[in-house]
């Protein structure tokens, strides 16, 4: 029976190579590997599919199943790093990075430090917080929607935690929302206007009188 299964694995390899985005062929491969209980060819095979299309959802799903089922975590972070060197924008690779860290070391303080240093250059060490770094970028006229969205998220957290100077924080968040809706991220205008209204609705009443005085 096993001999037939190995032949079947070779057969399905050929079919997947011709139709890498078909659900049924990948399901068939998984059934064979499960019966064989042999993941020996799987990491190389999925890597070869990802070589042609680094974001093929079926390939990633099969790869994740193999790694989880047969405990093949050891070299995966290295593989992810290679893909990110090829294309830093490959979101599937970033997702795989999260998947590996989550299931191995977990997000301990050390690991988080390491992940941050992977993402940013060393300048960050000069700032007391990530927010301070972002605020500096903003002052230096950087207008990336991702930067501004991150700052809004941080301000929202600060408002939730009732930190000092709520009125000022709320105003900064609203200004960023308006700038995004009107200018820097118009396509998401409806969303940013909603965020601004929602923040005002939740945190504005305590700060209303201050707002009126300021304006």
């Amino acid at each position: 029976m096993n001999k037939d299964l190995h032949k079947e694995l070779t057969y399905i390899t050929n079919v997947i190579n011709k139709h890498p985005k078909n659900y049924q062929v990948w399901h068939h491969r998984r059934v064979i590997v499960e019966r064989l209980q042999d993941p020996g060819r799987e990491l190389d095979f999925t890597a070869s599919i990802l070589q042609d299309d680094a974001k093929n959802y079926h390939a990633w799903q099969h790869r994740q199943w193999v790694i989880r089922e047969f405990d093949l975590w050891d070299n995966e972070l290295g593989y992810v790093e290679k893909l990110l060197r090829d294309d830093l924008r490959n979101n599937s690779a970033w997702n795989q990075r999260y998947f590996v860290v989550n299931h191995t070391t977990g997000f301990t303080d050390d690991v988080i430090e390491r992940e941050i240093s992977v993402l940013l250059d060393r300048q960050l060490q000069n700032y007391p917080s990530v927010l301070a770094f972002c605020q500096q970028l903003y002052e230096d006229r950087y207008r990336s929607p991702y930067l501004m969205a991150y700052m809004i998220d941080t301000y929202e957290e600060m408002l939730e935690q009732e930190s000092d100077d709520r009125a000022a924080t709320l105003k900064k968040a609203e200004q960023l929302c308006n700038a995004l809706a009107d200018e820097y991220d118009q396509i998401r205008g409806e969303y940013w206007n909603y965020v601004a209204r929602s923040l005002t609705s939740r945190y504005g009443s305590q700060t209303n009188t201050v707002e009126q005085e300021v304006s």
Partner: protein, 374 residues
């Protein structure tokens, strides 16, 4: 329509929205720039046509061509559809739903033929398969039940053997939902939500537009909506949606992503307080005009049918999902308005009501039907 009312005709459109690769070229950015160039050609061509559009009817949804494409597909598809041999109820559903959106009637004969075919896809063990003689599976079951509800005749309803396993949508529509049937399901769905906020096909995988819609709709049907931070992935330049971060625009995501917004609106409304008026009463949380411009200007295949992006081949699936334009806001001629669809079941509202009335007469099964693990 005058030039200035179209987003893609605005003078600052290029400058504001073009992709900036920050001098860091990768395959993702190269592909994105290529697609934007191709879309730019479509928008430029559109602008030229507008100049001589004295009756202000552009853009036009080519209903006749699309209907012809769909009607033909119901009886005959080319050999390139072999890859969907295990998804034939899907093809029925996609075509039938597209035709109902366009308000195209079907002959009694066609209705009966499709119903009989779907009947042949049903399995003795329960549920529907991808084709006659195949194993039953939840996905074609969903599609077959929806397709039969669109057909809406008593013959179609009676084909559904409610005895065995169905997914949440099929279960609700046919009135066989019991608490045991979906015990543990909402918790599993929530495990599929990723750090990005969207849902994946299974825990651990990347957030994806298609699964995000399914996750949200399923949680809605099961009355277990948690407030998900479903990030808006509307593409800045093209106007359409992408399916995943840093991937390309695709007309089909007009449905998977766009269709999620009415659900999000509903969830946010449920979770807000009485005095909270943050939610707009006039539009969904995305740029509806931009999406319509993208689909109508860039995604109509000249011979009929909708495509994923300029230069792509025709596909029934792309057509189905791309056709779900908002029935409230429309651009161009008023003929572009399509019929409204139920945001959870993806079948036109009148058909949902009709099916609901039929199945409510029948009692739910006495014992819980557990679905075999797939």
């Amino acid at each position: 329509m005058e030039l200035h009312t179209f987003r893609c005709c605005d003078s600052s459109f290029e400058e504001k929205n073009k992709f900036n690769d920050d001098k860091n070229q990768t395959l993702s950015s190269e592909e994105q720039i290529e697609v934007e160039e191709s879309v730019k050609k479509q928008y430029t061509h559109f602008k030229h046509r507008l100049e001589i559009d004295h009756e202000c009817i552009l853009p036009v949804l080519d209903r006749e061509m699309h209907s012809a494409f769909l009607q033909k597909g119901l009886s005959n598809l080319s050999s390139s559809y072999e890859c969907l041999d295990a998804s034939r109820p899907w093809l029925c559903y996609w075509i039938l739903h597209s035709l109902e959106l366009l308000d195209e009637p079907l002959s009694d004969e066609t209705i009966s033929q499709v119903a009989k075919f779907l009947g042949k896809c049903q399995c003795e063990t329960g549920g529907f398969a991808g084709g006659p003689g195949q194993h039953a599976h939840l996905a074609p079951t969903y599609a077959a039940v929806n397709a039969l509800c669109i057909l809406g005749t008593e013959e179609a309803f009676r084909i559904i053997d409610r005895g065995a396993y169905c997914a949440a949508s099929a279960a609700r529509l046919t009135n066989i939902m019991t608490p045991e049937l979906f015990d543990g399901t909402p918790e599993w769905i929530v495990r599929c939500q990723t750090y990005e906020g969207g849902f994946a096909g299974c825990p651990g995988m990347e957030a994806h537009g298609g699964y995000s819609f399914c996750g949200l709709a399923a949680l809605t049907l099961l009355n277990k909506t948690n407030l998900c931070d479903v990030k808006n992935v509307l593409m800045r330049y093209e106007g359409g949606f992408q399916g995943r971060t840093n991937k390309l625009v695709d007309g089909c995501y007009s449905f998977w992503q766009g269709g999620a917004f009415p659900l999000i609106h509903m969830i946010l409304t449920m979770h807000s307080t009485k005095d909270d008026s943050s939610l707009s009463a006039e539009s969904w949380l995305f740029h509806q005009k931009a999406l319509q411009e993208y689909v109508l200007v860039c995604c109509q295949y000249p011979g009929g049918g909708l495509i994923d992006k300029p230069g792509s081949g025709l596909s029934i699936a792309q057509h189905f999902a791309g056709g779900k334009l908002s029935h409230v806001l429309n651009i161009g001629h008023e003929n572009n308005i399509v019929r409204p669809t139920h945001p959870v079941y993806n079948v036109c509202v009148d058909k949902v009501v009709h099916a609901d009335m039929f199945f409510k007469q029948l009692p739910p099964p006495k014992s819980a039907s557990k679905s075999p693990n797939t």
